[in-house]
């Protein structure tokens, strides 16, 4: 739009002037809105965690057994990958804010690369599990297999939650590509970077979810743990 937005002024009875916050150009509003959106993510995953601990409470030992059979090494690598990608994303935003657009774009690319790496590793994990007969609608997870109920539930939720988390990563990659496009079109600039800011926030929330997904699935059964829930 060609019109320059000029904030409006409201005048009170004493003639004092007050600047009016318009919906245009409201950085804080944009940020607040995105935070609110993130709360919905928290509740969504919160509900799934609730389902998880629901069955965990009913089948404590089987959950530990199932957890122990996950590949902790790959999970750990993925954790580190996400940690670093959160850093690169944050640095990219810093660069954008300080005017280094090129550096910012580079950082976004790096983040995307890490995201893809995460997905590839996840893919290997799932593949291995598939070959062990543990996969949705497959072999041990079918209703008539003799696999213990607790483990069926554990893995059913494992695939659902890591799947949904993976889906968030994919969306994140999409968002970053879009962001790059907007940067190239100079719609996102050092002095107008709310989109970048929010996508960085999005990336953090995706990571934040993993911070809980990882220990709940991979670590609770580590070291021959026997409960303590």
């Amino acid at each position: 739009m060609s019109h320059e937005y000029v904030p409006e002024i409201a005048t009170d009875r004493d003639g004092k002037q007050h600047e009016v916050q318009g919906w245009q150009d409201d950085f804080y509003g944009g940020k607040l809105g995105f935070w609110l959106f993130m709360f919905t993510e928290v509740l969504m995953f919160g509900a799934m965690f609730m389902a998880l601990s629901y069955y965990n409470t009913l089948h404590p030992q089987e959950f530990l057994d199932a957890s122990a059979s996950l590949n902790r090494l790959l999970g750990g690598i993925n954790t580190v990958i996400l940690l670093i990608s959160a850093l690169t994303m944050g640095l990219g935003l810093l660069k954008m804010r300080t005017g280094d657009v090129k550096g910012a774009k580079l950082m976004i690319w790096v983040t995307m690369l890490l995201a893809v790496a995460f997905l590839v590793i996840k893919g290997f994990e799932w593949r291995a599990e598939y070959h062990h007969g543990v996969f949705l609608m497959h072999d041990k997870l079918l209703a008539d297999s003799s696999f213990p109920l607790g483990e069926k539930l554990f893995f059913g939720l494992y695939f659902t939650m890591t799947g949904l988390h993976g889906f968030h990563i994919i969306i994140g990659i999409g968002l970053m590509l879009w962001l790059l496009k907007r940067i190239n079109a100079e719609k996102v600039r050092p002095d107008h970077h709310i989109l970048h800011w929010n996508i960085a926030l999005y990336w953090d929330i995706v990571h934040l979810i993993w911070v809980f997904v990882f220990p709940y699935y991979y670590m609770i059964g580590a070291g021959g743990a026997t409960g303590g829930h």
Binding site: H3, Y5, V6, E8, A10, T11, D12, R13, H18, E19, V20, Q21, G22, W23, Q24, D26, Y28, G29, L32, G33, L36, F37, F39, T40, E41, L43, M44, F45, G46, A47, M48, M50, A51, Y54, Y55, L58, H59, L136, M137, L141, L142, A143, D144, L149, G150, K152, L153, G156, L157, F159, T160
Partner: protein, 551 residues
């Protein structure tokens, strides 16, 4: 007019030339609100037709013209439309959009484009929901509650309905998000939270429920879809899944959702009562806080739908105890409204009639809610017509009635015209009598053990269903009558002027009626309370050119 930021086609993507596209692409909150109303109104009449079919079927025991399966689809369709398409988005989407920004002196909501997107998301959701009507498997037959494992195993097309409910949920979340930011960011200078009109408070409390409760049902429906197509086991008892978990997750949303419906409706009540009592509202802060606390406590009581589900008895006791605490802030509101009438000057215009009528019907709806909050009693009454009567009294006699009240109240604001008072009053009485005749007998039938979702019933209950049918006929005629009155008013009514009710809140201080595209010419400075009357006249007056106070 200081700025030319907007032009004639403002608030529409890409400045389209045609009038039609200007509406389709509009990002103006008032127009979006009107479009919501149009769509809802359309679906609403479908649901109304289904309801009438059910009543007709229930006129006598035995199958009349529906068999079990069609009846099951009928109440599912009725419930799904009424809940997800109509009453959940209802007041926020219509009046939240149309008047809330006007009330706080904003030019629009915080994210007008998102608002546009949300509206179309809503439309897509409704289309997906309806699409299954035309598929081979037919519309879902699960009831609006989608209980697993039934919804997982049924052969009808639940997937469409589940996905639709998810999309509509997203739309609801985004509306709430938009309103929350709007209320936090765009209030006119000087208007702190304690100077907001109570309708805005209602919308604010509602928005929090939309935001934080809806994701839970969203994910639940996704899990159900996952269960159906990928067999994750979570709701399938054969794999160890617990059907009761589904009920928990469903009601974690759906109970707060009933307050999501009623709180903005209460907001409308709080606007109408002082305006037509011509005096300041009694207990402004108490009403505002009670909205917030109903929303808050409302998160903790979902288990009262699970008293007979097999949930632990301890949990039943906890939920029952908590449930009674929602009744108290609600009661406070009611007493405050009544106290507002004390020593006022009560003008029984149509909006006021609807409001007072709602006090009667919602009192019945709410107090019967308290009956079934008592565990022992609910064990008997759960899933009987007593419950059905309770929630129709609450949703129809509470929310829909207040929506009608609001439609009469803000009719001049939206159309610039006035409907015919006398006819509108007749319509009210028809509705009111019809409604009570329709639903009151159902309390008795339910108490005697008439279960819900029965398309055929035992002959003992026939009398109640017959009376109820008569009520339905009366009621539906009343509704149609009312819409005719609206239609006539819109096309032929007299110009109403900007403030026909002598109201005090900002939406009545616009330069023209209907409201101009850019809302207030200038943003006013708000240094007054929302309902300031003196000797029955609004205290605050504006010069509509400069929006400076001139009183």
């Amino acid at each position: 007019m200081s700025k030319t930021y907007f032009d004639e086609t403002h608030c529409a993507y890409g400045h389209p030339k045609s009038k039609f596209m200007q509406w389709m692409l509009t990002i103006d909150h008032k127009r979006i609100g009107i479009m919501y109303a149009a769509v809802m109104f359309f679906y609403f009449f479908i649901a109304l037709g289904t309801a009438f079919m059910m009543r007709l079927e229930l006129l006598a025991p035995g199958a009349q013209f529906l068999d079990g399966d069609s009846f099951n689809q009928a109440f599912t369709l009725h419930g799904v439309i009424m809940i997800f398409l109509f009453i959940v988005p209802g007041i926020p989407a219509i009046f939240g959009n149309i008047v809330m920004p006007l009330m706080i002196g904003a030019k629009d909501v915080s994210f007008p484009k998102l608002n546009w997107f949300t509206f179309w998301l809503y439309v897509v959701g409704t289309l997906v929901a309806m699409a299954s009507l035309f598929t081979d498997a037919g519309f879902a037959d699960t009831g609006w509650t989608f209980y697993a494992p039934y919804s997982i195993t049924t052969g009808t097309n639940v997937i469409f309905t589940l996905v639709a409910a998810f999309i509509l949920g997203m739309a609801s979340i985004l509306t709430g998000l938009n309103f929350l930011v709007t209320i936090h960011r765009l209030r006119a200078p000087g208007m702190d939270f304690w100077k907001m009109p109570l309708f805005v408070w209602g919308i604010y409390a509602t928005a929090w429920i939309q935001l934080l409760a809806t994701p839970v049902v969203g994910i639940t429906l996704i899990l159900a879809v996952m269960e159906k197509y990928f067999g994750i086991g979570i709701f399938d008892p054969a794999k160890g899944g617990d059907p009761v978990l589904f009920e928990h997750l469903f009601w974690i949303y759906s109970h707060p959702a009933v307050y999501l419906m009623i709180l903005p409706a209460f907001g409308i009540m709080s606007e109408i009562i002082p305006t037509f009592s011509r005096r300041e509202i009694f207990g402004y802060r108490a009403i505002a806080i009670s909205s917030a606390s109903i929303a808050g406590i409302g998160y903790l009581v979902w288990g009262h739908h699970l008293y007979t589900s097999g949930m632990a008895d301890t949990a039943k006791v906890v939920f029952s105890f908590l449930t009674f605490f929602v009744a108290i802030p609600t009661g406070i509101k009611f007493y405050d409204w009544i106290a507002t009438m004390y020593k006022g000057k009560i003008i029984l215009s149509t909006p006021m009639l609807w409001a007072l009528g709602t006090i009667i019907t919602f009192t019945i709806g709410g107090l019967t809610g308290v009956t079934i909050a008592m565990i022992g009693v609910d064990i008997h009454l759960q899933d009987t017509y007593y419950t059905v009567a309770h929630f129709h009294y609450a949703m129809l006699g509470g929310v829909a009635f207040l929506l009608f009240a609001g439609m009469h109240y803000w009719f001049p604001l939206v159309t610039g015209k006035m409907y015919n008072e006398a006819h509108a009053k007749i319509a009210f009485y028809l509705n009111f009598v019809g409604f009570n005749l329709l639903w009151f007998p159902m309390f008795i039938a339910g108490y005697y053990g008439m279960p819900r979702r029965y398309f055929d019933y035992l002959p003992e209950f026939q009398i109640y269903h017959q009376v109820s049918f008569a009520g339905a006929v009366l009621f539906i005629s009343g509704v149609i009558y009312m819409f005719v009155v609206f239609y006539k008013g819109w096309t032929k009514g007299e110009a109403s002027g900007t403030n026909p009710w002598n109201a005090t809140t900002l939406e009545w201080h616009l330069p023209t009626s209907p409201a101009p595209l850019e809302n207030h010419t200038k943003v006013p400075y708000v240094d007054f309370n929302p309902y300031e009357y003196h000797h029955g006249q609004p205290v605050v007056k504006f010069d509509y050119k400069t929006m400076q106070r001139i009183d």
